[in-house]
């Protein structure tokens, strides 16, 4: 059995205020800021904030080893890469300076962009005013994030490509002797795509163990429930069979989420299947079952109920 007893694992030493308290604050802040924008824009990707709040909070407060950076304002759209522009995406600046010992974080489903932006504000990497640029023409804080968007390193909007590219980066970093690791957040829907399995196969074969994957297993996709759209279960057994070091954890349990990240590499890629709830901390979302992918208000009354919810968060 590849799944280890995570209770035995040692956690990174914590500062005076516990990282868990900080992570809880960040997760709350993510949900509040995302809800604020959904209310402002009369719709948006809301359930992803419910399901992935603790995952992103854990990543930024405990897992990722990133360089320090002052809260930054996202710049204007710099143009697409071409003859006159190529190189580091401006979105990476929010992850601090690059160095061989620092980690990288790659968001694969760019539909989670707003959740990532909110997280960056909560952990002090993006200035809060930056969020005002969300979905604004000529800006970089795009609705579906692209390479130039805050906190984004590469083009990953086409599902399945984020992990592949990240595995190339991880392979290259290992080859260069860099000690920093690469962390990827994926959605469970990406496990319907063949490229994901091609990548896990290659990562396992080439022992790319400096890469860790967190999967937001919320069981829902654009069309509704995953098991009624295209089943991916038993996901844990499938991933394990591809040679990964697999952990199935409660995706809202901070300690359980953090523990696998502190294991010493053993040749296998790490995959954390974070079992999450699409309505976490927002019970009133549940009436939308099974359609959680993109949220729209049905009427004025519902709009007011969400305004009340925001006031209570």
């Amino acid at each position: 059995m590849a799944t280890q007893d995570i209770a035995e694992l040692e956690l990174r030493p914590t500062a005076s205020t516990s990282w868990q308290d900080e992570a809880r604050r960040v997760a709350r802040g993510i949900r509040r800021r995302v809800l604020e924008h959904v209310i402002l824009n009369k719709g948006g990707y809301l359930s992803q904030a419910c399901s992935a709040g603790e995952i992103l909070a854990t990543l930024y407060t405990n897992v990722l080893n990133l360089g320090r950076v002052k809260p930054l304002l996202p710049g204007p759209f710099p143009g697409v890469p071409g003859p006159n522009y190529r190189g580091l995406s401006p979105g990476t600046a929010l992850h601090g300076p690059r160095a061989p010992h620092f980690d990288r974080f790659i968001l694969s489903p760019s539909q989670y962009a707003l959740i990532l932006y909110a997280a960056l504000v909560e952990v002090g990497r993006m200035a809060p005013e930056g969020l005002l640029d969300f979905n604004r023409d000529g800006g970089t804080v795009e609705m579906i994030g692209a390479e130039h968007s805050p906190g984004h390193e590469l083009m990953s909007g086409s599902l399945g490509q984020g992990l592949s590219q990240a595995s190339g980066i991880a392979y290259a970093r290992k080859r260069k002797g860099e000690t920093g690791r690469v962390w990827v957040l994926m959605s469970d829907g990406e496990f319907q795509s063949g490229q994901t399995w091609e990548t896990l196969q290659a990562m396992s074969f080439h022992k790319i163990d400096n890469l860790g994957i967190y999967v937001d297993v919320n069981g829902h996709q654009c069309d509704g429930r995953m098991n009624q759209t295209m089943n991916i279960e038993p996901l844990e057994k499938r991933v394990e069979a591809f040679g990964c070091r697999t952990f199935r954890v409660d995706g809202h349990d901070l300690d359980a989420l953090a523990a696998p990240a502190h294991l010493l590499p053993d040749g296998r890629p790490i995959v954390v299947l974070a079992m999450t709830d699409t309505c976490r901390e927002m019970e009133i979302l549940r009436v939308n079952a099974p359609k959680f992918h993109y949220f729209r208000f049905k009427d004025e009354a519902e709009y007011r109920r969400y305004q009340d919810l925001l006031a209570s968060l």
Binding site: G82, P83, R86, Q165, A170, Y171, A172, E198
Partner: protein
């Protein structure tokens, strides 16, 4: 004519010797794409990725972001058909210096439609940031790596393998973005016909032009190895001097490739010249030998003679015997890993 064997295999080993950032990626076609010698010479820089091209393309994008120069090798169809989205978003969009070597262009494979890249240039030419080149002989295979060295973005190389003729002076290397002059009967002045050819069609065109010129047709023959960026100005100048018109000849569908590039140049400049495009006419192809398919689909020297006669309203009485001997490759030869 000098025939060389496994030119890329040897050249790559030599060229990559002191370039430690060159990594060669294989999708289970190591000997078939002539990277077996590289694998033996530098096993540490050879990455086997199996029959999984989508991952290979995106993975290469990741390697390039970290400063490596990934050299993807597989059959051309598996690059642009199987992994187009990955190539577009993981490689072309970020303008990453990934080199893609696509083997078995057009009818050079007897493997049938699944193995024959007949619309690759059209696909690649329309993709932003992509540089597109195609080799036509051994000299170009020997010099293509230098020609594209330093291109900051991705490059697609339509490659030849096995036994390849040397058509061009070994001392005159391929140059990116330049047309190669094969023949010019009246430098600086008017000629009857301008011919643009690419890839293996250049060898055919040379056989035909030899006979046509003996019959008094004055010709300017240009070989195109850079499809993008296309040498528009030089092409325009060559078109303008052609009395009867222009013929393009390519081992590719006539839409989106060389013929289209020439047509774009003519139309945009508003030059009233006839253009005849020799190539595959909106059709897939089947599995058969190269010489058989070239004849069947009209991509060979006799096809060029026929089209010239039509364009010039003339009959030249050129028989197949008048054309230089057809080079027939053995189905099984030591230069190829498999008959495909």
């Amino acid at each position: 004519m000098e025939i060389l064997s496994r030119v890329h295999a040897k050249n790559l080993v030599r060229w990559a010797k002191d370039r430690p950032n060159v990594l060669v990626l294989s999708a289970d076609l190591t000997s078939s794409t002539e990277i077996d010698l590289f694998k033996d010479a530098y096993p540490d820089r050879f990455i086997s990725l199996g029959v999984a091209e989508q991952n290979m393309l995106s993975f290469a994008g990741g390697l390039a972001r970290e400063g490596f120069l990934p050299f993807i090798h597989t059959f051309a169809v598996f690059i642009y058909r199987r992994a187009y989205d990955q190539m577009a978003m993981s490689v072309a969009y970020p303008n990453m210096p990934v080199r893609m070597f696509g083997f078995l262009p057009g009818i050079t494979s007897p493997g049938g439609a699944s193995h024959q890249a007949i619309e690759d240039i059209a696909m690649m030419r329309s993709l932003p940031n992509m540089t597109v080149v195609e080799v036509g002989d051994a000299t170009e295979i020997e010099t293509v790596l230098d020609a594209i060295d330093g291109v900051p973005g991705p490059v697609y190389v339509r490659m030849l393998r096995g036994e390849v003729p040397r058509l061009f002076d070994a001392a005159v290397p391929m140059q990116l973005g330049k047309l190669r002059s094969v023949a010019n009967d009246n430098p600086g002045g008017e000629i009857d016909l301008t011919i643009f050819s690419s890839g293996i069609c250049t060898e055919e065109a040379m056989r035909a032009t030899q006979a046509l010129r003996q019959r008094g047709v004055s010709i300017r023959h240009l070989h195109v190895s850079t499809h993008k960026p296309f040498a528009s100005e030089a092409a325009l100048e060559a078109v303008a001097t052609a009395r009867y018109g222009v013929i393009s000849m390519e081992n590719h569908v006539i839409t989106g490739g060389l013929g289209s590039a020439v047509a774009e140049v003519i139309a945009e400049a508003g030059i009233p010249k006839r253009l005849v495009r020799i190539g595959l006419r909106d059709t897939f192809v089947h599995g058969a030998s190269r010489s058989y398919l070239m004849k069947e689909y009209g991509l060979d020297a006799p096809a060029l003679v026929r089209e010239t006669e039509k364009l010039l309203h003339a009959k030249f009485d050129i028989s197949e015997c008048d054309l230089a001997a057809v080079r027939i490759e053995a189905v099984h030869s030591d230069a190829k890993a498999e008959a495909l």
